[in-house]
């Protein structure tokens, strides 16, 4: 009746065992596969195995024209697809040397900031869910849904908009757009305090994140971290300030920095960035200049022979588009420098010695989007 069964294997000679987290796991938000070595609850090593959603977008883009390849970047970091498209459009414009109409610049920046808010909202909900609180997720979606509706009305899609085209934007703003954004700002201002009450101040939440996954500034730089992940370690790297594009130099906003370096600092930086994005939106929404929304470009775009790199600040960090052109209608080589790829590489370094629950919290605070990592 009783049968001797195989027991869970440990690494010979140690008390350590290997645990596969993912590719299907609630905490990995997608298909990230982590092979972690555990001693009890303590993490000894984290080894990411990527590629479950690798589509080789870089190779695909080599056969697409400069208008066509932009859409594929929405499928990388799908939470900030506008900003990815923006980077591609900017990179092509850099090669074409076209002047973008001022109205288009305003629209682009507004869309970028709305996307950033939507992305951070989703992150906030997912982060709270990672540490076990389920209600914030729905509150975050309430706000995100408003942005999605605005996007749907103006851009025609909710997630993968493909609204940015070389030379400007695809359509003009919808007549309702300004009113709806203003309504959103007023709504969100009253709700963001609820976020603080429900999650930020909560002692369990704070204890789960404080002093967990501490990333020192020199490590953040060495590992190539960018965006809120690096800024939470005190590394000033906001490309909107350091390598400004569009109308960012004219705007009043602060680069959010924190010196904590732990998960809670990353959390606070993102939450403050939400407020900064609102501040940017408030400056822009009232005086969008009249004019063209798209510069005149040729039907078939050809970039002069050369190399173009365009970095942009997405919700997750520095997204770079590196186009090598041989003068034909399609790029010779495209490299997408995705923020998630570098931010993921730091995971092993900062989660060693922490517990499984902490690993989940650290992954949440790094705000990883898996298609962005795999490309």
């Amino acid at each position: 009746m009783y049968r001797e069964t195989e027991v869970i294997q440990t690494i010979p000679g140690t008390d350590e065992m290997v645990l596969n987290i993912g590719p299907q796991h609630p905490a990995t938000h997608g298909v990230l596969h982590l092979v972690i070595t555990l001693n009890g609850e303590i993490i000894k090593k984290v080894e990411p195995h990527l590629g479950y959603i690798h589509r080789s977008i870089e190779k695909m883009c080599e056969s697409l024209s400069y208008r066509q390849f932009i859409y594929s970047t929405s499928r990388m970091d799908y939470l900030s697809s506008h900003i990815n498209n923006h980077a591609c459009a900017l990179c092509v414009e850099q090669g074409l040397e076209v002047e973008i109409p001022r109205r288009a610049q305003y629209i682009r920046v507004i869309m970028d900031e709305l996307t950033r808010i939507a992305s951070h909202c989703l992150w906030w909900g997912a982060m709270a869910m990672d540490v076990g609180a389920l209600t914030p997720f729905f509150l975050a979606f309430r706000e995100r849904e408003m942005i999605n509706d605005i996007m749907e009305e103006t851009c025609g899609a909710r997630l993968t908009m493909n609204y940015m085209v070389p030379g400007g934007v695809m359509f003009d703003l919808h007549p309702n757009f300004v009113g709806r954004v203003k309504h959103f700002i007023a709504h969100f201002k009253s709700k963001i305090d609820e976020y603080d009450e429900l999650v930020t101040g909560n002692i369990i939440f704070q204890n789960r994140l404080k002093n967990i996954g501490v990333l020192r500034p020199e490590d953040a730089i060495s590992y190539g971290c960018s965006g809120p992940t690096a800024r939470a370690s005190g590394v000033s790297c906001d490309l909107r300030k350091h390598m400004p594009y569009e109308i960012y130099p004219e705007l009043q906003f602060e680069e959010v920095l924190d010196n904590g370096g732990d998960s809670f600092a990353r959390y606070l930086v993102r939450l403050t960035e939400l407020r900064q994005s609102m501040h940017i939106l408030e400056q822009l929404i009232d005086d969008i200049p009249e004019g063209d929304f798209q510069a005149k470009t040729k039907a078939v775009l050809k970039l002069p022979k050369g190399e173009y790199y365009q970095p942009i600040e997405t919700a997750r960090g520095e997204f770079g588009v590196y186009i090598v052109s041989d003068g034909s209608t399609t790029p010779y080589r495209i490299k997408f420098r995705s923020p998630g790829f570098s931010n993921l590489s730091v995971l092993d370094h900062i989660s060693r010695g922490q517990k499984i629950g902490d690993l989940v919290a650290i992954m949440g605070s790094l705000d990883l989007v898996i298609p962005d990592i795999d490309r």
Binding site: Q68, R142, E145, G156, E197
Partner: protein, 159 residues
Amino acid sequence: MGLRNYLSDVASGVKSLLTGMKVTGRLFLRHHKEKITQQYPDNKDTMVYPERFRGEVVMPHDDNNEHACTGCTACELACPNGTIKIITKFDVTPEGKRKKAIDTFIYHLQLCTMCNLCIEACPTDAIKMAQTFEHSVFDRSQLIKKLNQEGSKIREGVE
């Protein structure tokens, strides 16, 4: 000193927890007024679809079963995924000239990413995006669509 810290820790911790419970308690009492989810198939009649929403490429035909597509294949070239395939034929006009026209406008919905580039590329506004979005079918071949209707021809005056 140690005891005092200990007690103030406990007090501030409890306070933060009660603040959180206040928020969810407030939401609980407000639940009948505010709903963030929708009963999707039930509210279909009252749902408003934004006119720019991109669900599927369609070719509008007027009452005389005429469309505006000249068969220039600009959309086919603009499409990044090979979604559109246009088969052209040559019509003979009343004046006896041979004129290029579409025979079949094939649209592979299963490949389409709704990027809107074909609509932007179309010089005659012959195709547009429809607001439908329920495209699930049991057989993938049903997603290959012929956009021009049977017996349709090009509208007069469209070049």
